[in-house]
């Protein structure tokens, strides 16, 4: 990160990509969206050439999904399946592809296996919550926030010991603590253990912790591509989606190698939606808007830290300056 296309974000929108009343995804349109997004990102005429810029047949590829709001909102299995098919198309054997997430109980609710090409692996780092066995004991970030005894956050063992490349597939969501949860949050909190210690309401350390984690090798260099699944989104009380009124349907996907630029665009989408709904900005830090009842879109459990994205840019993870971000929009 930020990879070969710093500051470049491709947004592909397709009005019929998902049925907002049923949540049913149109797999054929998803396929077209991904093809279009990858070709526009790279400038290649053929999608195989676009994928081949990032992945070779020798790679062992992780598809980092986001299931923190599953089963209601998650990296759509239709999207993940098309990504896996494209990896196979450039020569990666199915057995060298791993769809993975931290928590097995969340992963299981999605049932990716039914959608994926035969032979693709589905893996969770924690088959039992808080088990450390799926994490690399030698690669960790050590810091103390609130005097917790366990001061280490270890990287997922699959990432450090097996994968050579990672395709990051976050959702398009507001997050009660980090402001939004997009590329950077899925890379950081999604690849390390013992990270919930970073937020203890109402204040959190997410402003700096997310970027610090995402910058750790080998995570930083193995995440080669971000595909943000924004067919559906959450504009309040995320990363979960327990209250249907806070779901919305942007019907879009974003593509890029720069997680900072993409997350900046994510902020724009969430802010626009919240404004339309009459909700305060995610940058609001007033304690009068902090409270337990987040059924009110102007009340939140935490003081949000969307500044984690700009902070990540200072670690060299990508471009935050709006004027330096180039957005290409494709309508299908």
């Amino acid at each position: 990160m930020p990879g070969p296309y710093p500051g470049l974000v491709v947004r592909v929108h397709s009005e019929n990509s998902i049925d907002a009343s049923s949540g049913k995804v149109n797999p054929e349109l998803v396929k077209q969206m991904i093809s279009s997004g990858m070709k526009t990102l790279t400038g290649d005429a053929r999608q195989e050439d676009a994928w081949a810029r990032f992945i070779s047949p020798k790679d062992v590829v992780g598809i980092k999904v986001n299931c923190s709001g599953a089963p209601r909102i998650r990296s759509s299995p239709e999207v993940v399946a098309v990504i896996a098919e494209n990896l196979i198309a450039v020569g990666v054997p199915a057995k060298q592809i791993h769809v993975y997430e931290r928590f097995d109980n969340q992963l299981q609710t999605v049932g990716y296996g039914k959608y994926l090409p035969a032979g693709v692996n589905v893996y969770a780092a924690e088959t039992t919550r808080e088990s450390i066995l799926g994490y690399d004991p030698k690669t960790y970030v050590e810091t103390s926030f609130y005097g917790e005894q366990d001061t280490r956050s270890n990287v997922v063992r699959l990432v450090s010991e097996t994968l050579t490349k990672i395709v990051n597939v976050p959702n398009l969501k507001e997050h009660q603590a980090s402001g939004v949860t997009g590329c950077l949050k899925n890379i950081s909190y999604g690849n390390f253990s013992n990270v919930a210690r970073g937020h203890n309401a109402p204040q959190t350390y997410l402003g700096t912790f997310i970027g610090a984690l995402a910058a750790v090798e080998p995570v930083r260099s193995r995440v080669v591509l971000n595909i943000m699944d924004g067919l559906m989104g959450v504009w309040h009380a995320g990363p979960f989606s327990e209250m249907p009124r806070f779901r919305f349907y942007p019907k879009q996907m974003m593509f890029g190698t720069d997680p900072v630029a993409m997350d900046h665009k994510l902020i724009d989408v969430i802010e626009e939606k919240r404004k339309a709904e009459g909700a305060v900005s995610i940058f609001d830090r007033s304690m009068s808007h902090v409270g337990k009842d987040n059924t009110n879109p102007n009340t939140n459990h935490y003081i949000r830290e969307p500044g984690h994205i700009e902070y990540a840019s200072k670690l060299g993870l990508g471009v935050f300056d709006a004027a330096s971000i180039k957005l290409k929009v494709i309508e299908l």
Binding site: E130, I132, P137, G147, Q149, D150
Partner: protein
């Protein structure tokens, strides 16, 4: 207490002699009984009984974890109910537990870790787990080693001081009692000093946090990662460290993996588990200043001997 039972915690059984078959079935063959019942137990074959009295012994809390899930709290850390500080405060004291079921086994292991003179009164459901734990404790070889301490703690005997000790035990901050600062230790702590004002002791967690801050994690002889419910006891000689690990959540909520860091280089190890056949230490690493390893599973109690 008793020559026969002095080295191990012992079952205190106040049932009549006609309950002997329940003890035998559980695998119990040594007991302490009230003096008034001793004569009747003396004639029971297969069970050695000696007289004991709970009066004058310090009653301990049943070791466990209170998760307090539905209570607002300043911390999300579970509340570990441990008795280690009581043993440290009264090293020659007499203690007893009144526990049920599998807690009897955890009580025995806890008392054993501290070399405490403890009696365990339990119910019928506690007999088998206790017998199994006592059998395991008998297999642990060697003379008791002196405890490792990073901190010298001057205990004023107050309740507040006791609670500070309790939190240091629970946080695996290794300390020993001293009557005056001991320069051989890494840190000395006394309530009522500038570093540890008495008013802070109203929230003993503040004091324990300050102790950790002043000691620094780097200087701690022992670190535990991956669980908030495991309490350790570390003893050592010049070339041998014995680490006791107690899972206060008990066997019903086994810990799946804890990472341990012990200062010093120990290339050899031996793992003894009360209930974990086939378990081996993983990712064993001897670094320039410390030894680290992962215990993949801890049901209730483990002893790890580290050797130079």
């Amino acid at each position: 207490m008793l020559l026969l039972l002095a080295a191990l915690p012992a079952l205190f059984w106040d049932g009549a002699a006609d309950t002997a078959s329940a003890l035998r079935d559980a695998g119990i063959n040594q007991i302490l009984v009230p003096a008034a019942r001793l004569a009747s137990w003396k004639s029971v074959p297969g069970i050695v009984a000696e007289a004991a009295d709970l009066e004058g012994a310090v009653k301990l809390l049943p070791p466990t974890v209170d998760y307090r899930i539905n209570e607002a709290a300043a911390t999300s850390a579970p509340w570990v109910i441990a008795n280690g500080w009581r043993f440290i405060r009264r090293p020659g004291g007499r203690f007893y537990y009144d526990v049920t079921g599998k807690q009897a086994a955890l009580a025995a292991a806890e008392a054993f870790c501290y070399g405490a003179n403890a009696m365990i009164r339990t119910d019928a459901a506690g007999l088998k787990p206790l017998a199994a734990m006592l059998d395991f404790l008998r297999t642990l070889s060697g003379e008791p080693l002196p405890p490792v301490a990073d901190i010298g703690y001057i205990d004023d005997g107050s309740a507040a001081s006791g609670e500070v000790m309790n939190l240091m035990v629970r946080d695996n901050l290794l300390f020993q009692l001293v009557t005056a600062p001991d320069r051989r230790l890494k840190l000395n702590v006394k309530l009522g000093t500038r570093e540890y004002p008495l008013e802070d002791a109203r929230n003993p967690g503040v004091v324990a946090h300050a102790v950790r801050f002043h000691l620094t994690d780097e200087k701690r002889s022992l670190r535990i990662f991956g669980s908030q419910v495991v309490v350790a006891r570390l003893t050592a000689s010049s070339d041998h460290v014995r680490l006791h690990l107690l899972n206060y959540a008990g066997a019903a909520r086994k810990v799946e993996g804890i990472r341990v860091r012990v200062l010093g280089q120990y290339p050899k190890h031996q793992l003894s588990l009360a209930d974990g056949a086939g378990v081996e230490l993983l990712d064993y690493s001897v670094e320039p200043d410390a030894t680290e390893f992962t215990l993949p599973e801890l049901k209730m109690y483990a002893v790890i001997d580290l050797l130079r």
